[in-house]
Amino acid sequence: MTDAVLKVDKLSRFFRVGGFRSAGTLHATDEVSFEVAPGEIVALVGESGSGKSTIARVLAGLYPPTSGTITFEGEVQGKRTSRKVRGRMPMVFQDPFGSINPVLRVGHSLHRSLKLHRPELDQAGRDAEAVALVERVGLLPGAEVLRRYPHELSGGQRQRLGFAQALASRPSLILADEPVSMLDVSIRIGLLNVMKGLRDQEHVSLLYITHDLASARYVADRMIVLYAGRIVEEGTTEEVIAHPEHPYTRLLMATAPDPRLPLSHDTDVEDLGEPPKVINPGPGCRFAPRCPLAMDQCRISTPALVSLSATKRVACFAVEQS
């Protein structure tokens, strides 16, 4: 087993919420552990409140973790993220209209990334590299695009730019936080193909955060399903898609809109519920209130992730018992 690029061990991030008297702790992500191998795309799949974005932001060094260890390229990370690690594990943001400074030219942040993370290049080298990066993600002609302002690019072009920026620092792992969610459906494919290309040709790993199972299936090698801050299922993409074990995974599969499928009616409950905000939680499975298989045990103790095979893990008492 080659060394993992990223190893996350029992990572938690809590936030204090509420006012002075009703202070509570929001468990945005709770004891999450997973690994990412070199040249692999891992999808973190979940709805709002699942903690997927929090995990990305902690890894990107935007918040310190509340507890747990992050081991990147063999080195355990401390509270402050070093510049080198920021370069090797950059982030691509979700909002094409908010993630680029509107008053600066498009090439500005690319040049900054190159200046900060590629000291071996001189000015001419940086200029050439910036053009190469932008063309690598499909924005042509590179030199002309770099001189434009953000409002002159479309949403899809801006997201491609986001990937070019991430590539500038020669990363081994790119954190992609819902990079296509705010794009029109017809444009997403272009970005998804860019991501596949980065894995196949540049051998870069990606942590792809999304709520869309279909796009996760299209690009990811492995899938991790999150619910209310915890991992509920993990496995290779085909395993999870073909044989979803956890009731929540099954719910996601059943409700994911796919025109090629007939409308499934096994989820015939009118209100399918929503994920909870996990504030000051007690023990017990967090999906139990919505779960068709919930037993008494589920409300009292928290199911741990159990390995069903070399690659498959599920956290569910009902699945364990069968």
């Binding site: 920021r86 943001f93 909002d95 008053v103 942040s109 920026q165």
Partner: protein, 298 residues
């Protein structure tokens, strides 16, 4: 990449000024006053301080606004006084803005204790009644020079802008592009100066104009009360002398009215430009012009 942004901003400002009537009016007035400030001798037919004419004369060709009780030419005094008033407005405006930006943006970006401390200072100074404070400080310093007045006005005037800018910086602070800058490893000072402040430019300019307006009126007020240097030429001191010599009762109304009108004119120019810039930074304030196109023949 800052210089191209400045040029772009100037070009945009140029286009904008041509389009908006308020901005156009304000800029023209300001431009004229700036010319007078720069070259007062072009506009002063006489030495403003020379008490050589017959006092108390009414309008005439030689003295377009008459003369003072001391025999000075009112018009020359008015033109000469422009410099001090305009300079106070610009210098105080500039210094107040720098202070407001420094405090407001730092407070918003740093958050936590730094924000709490800076906000406390800002709010305390904001709440102190300005005019009595100005009078106290001016009376205390006794020297009443140009720089004293500037100092007094800046110390009392920066806090309003600091609050405004802090709020705007707070709203921009969690934009993804600032997070992206942090994620790629930029230093805080860099993020503040290159990524955070440039999008706030229009509000900062509006702030500058507001501070300059405040300075004009407050300085005139101070000088009128006699707390400025009454021996220099300025509109406020003209008002002081006119008041002291009962100009209105003595039948020399122009001596009192002219400087008052000039103060109002400079104030209006700044206010017009301020309104115009408010519209730039907040599109919701832009006037809704209903342009009616002729409907195409069906």
């Amino acid at each position: 990449m800052k210089r191209p942004h400045l040029l772009r901003l100037l070009a945009a400002a140029g286009r904008f000024l041509r389009r908006d009537k308020k901005a156009m009016a304000g800029s023209i007035i300001l431009f004229v006053l700036l010319v007078i400030t720069a070259f007062p001798s072009w506009f002063t037919p006489d030495d403003p301080a020379a008490e050589i004419y017959s006092p108390g004369m009414a309008l005439s060709w030689a003295h377009p606004l008459g003369t003072t009780s001391f025999g000075q030419d009112v018009f020359s005094q008015l033109m000469a006084g422009t410099r001090q008033s305009v300079m106070i407005a610009l210098v105080v405006g500039f210094l107040c803005t720098i202070l407001s930006v420094a405090v407001g943006v730092t407070a918003a970006y740093s958050g936590g204790l730094v924000d709490d401390a800076l906000s406390l200072v800002t709010d305390v100074i904001l709440v102190i009644p300005t005019f009595p404070l100005i009078i106290v400080i001016a009376a205390y310093t006794k020297s009443a020079s140009f720089w004293t007045i500037v100092f007094v006005l800046v110390v009392t005037g920066w806090s309003y802008g600091a609050r405004q800018l802090r709020v705007q910086a707070l709203s921009l602070r969690n934009r993804d592009y600032l997070l992206a800058a942090r994620a790629r490893g930029e230093a805080s000072w860099y993020i503040i100066s290159v990524e955070l402040i440039p999008p706030m430019t229009s509000l900062i300019v509006a702030n500058f104009l507001g501070a300059a307006l405040y300075a004009v009126l407050a300085a005139a007020g101070l000088q009128f009360v006699g707390l400025g240097n009454v021996n220099t030429e300025s509109w406020g001191t003209m008002l002081y002398w006119a008041q002291n010599n009962e100009a209105l009762q003595a039948g020399l109304p122009l001596w009192a009215l002219a400087p008052g009108i000039m103060i109002a004119v400079l104030g209006s120019a700044l206010a017009l430009l301020n309104y115009a810039f408010d519209e730039v930074s907040n599109p919701a304030l832009r006037p809704v012009t209903t342009k009616r196109r002729k409907k195409a023949a069906a």
